[in-house]
Symmetry: C2
Subunit: 109 residues, 2 copies
Amino acid sequence: MGTDKSSELLPGTLDLLVLKTLARGRMHGYGIAQHLKNISEDVLQVGESSLYPALQRLLLNGYVEAEWGTSENNRRARYYTLTADGRKQLSAERKEFDRMVLAIQKVLA
Amino acid sequence: MGTDKSSELLPGTLDLLVLKTLARGRMHGYGIAQHLKNISEDVLQVGESSLYPALQRLLLNGYVEAEWGTSENNRRARYYTLTADGRKQLSAERKEFDRMVLAIQKVLA
DNA sequence: ATACTTCCATCGATAGACGATGGGAACCGA
DNA sequence: TCGGTTCCCATCGTCTATCGATGGAAGTAT
């Protein structure tokens, strides 16, 4: 029973979510996951094994930068910051997402 | 260069789109692709190499049934029909999709 | 005849999400 | 002071899905 696989994320939207979160300011990985969970009222549950690869992707593409620091709780943490390219990418991905959702909703209507 | 990869589909939504399309009535694969393209005004471009595997999945899960017939254009065509289980699945996937989109939009807001 | 459209289908590559796992440092209660 | 919990990092292996390339057959129009 329980063929329910309902993933905790819409595939293909993770980068967008992370970029948007970082647009609010510099943040560490754990914080990003918390923020997404909180603001979505527990709907968006980003596992760490999804999040860190995503951050690596974004780093590689130059959409974010990283530096080590200390968290509010006095822990060693890696802080990520959105770059100029990241901002452009965010805008593009958002536009594309809206386009897709709109199209899908036409089908579902 | 064009690093633009913008796929023609939101990953994870294809089954939903196909199920919804079939809810309108029995249809063959090619017709499903056409319908999605038309109704979405060319935004949703389902390649055949995405569509047919999807239909196989749906068949295997018992969400659709298939039978051979002849198309409006007098061609050999395989017609797909939504089953009762398919209807339930459509409802569930739709609900889940709405839930996700709503959550994402809270993040993007 | 031949070119185009309709309709089927598979294969291999690629990418992305996820469960499991591992580690280390700080804090907290008993 | 010691054990548990929270915080924060990260990787590996698996699985699933999308997609480009490819191939075929049958009808239709020129």
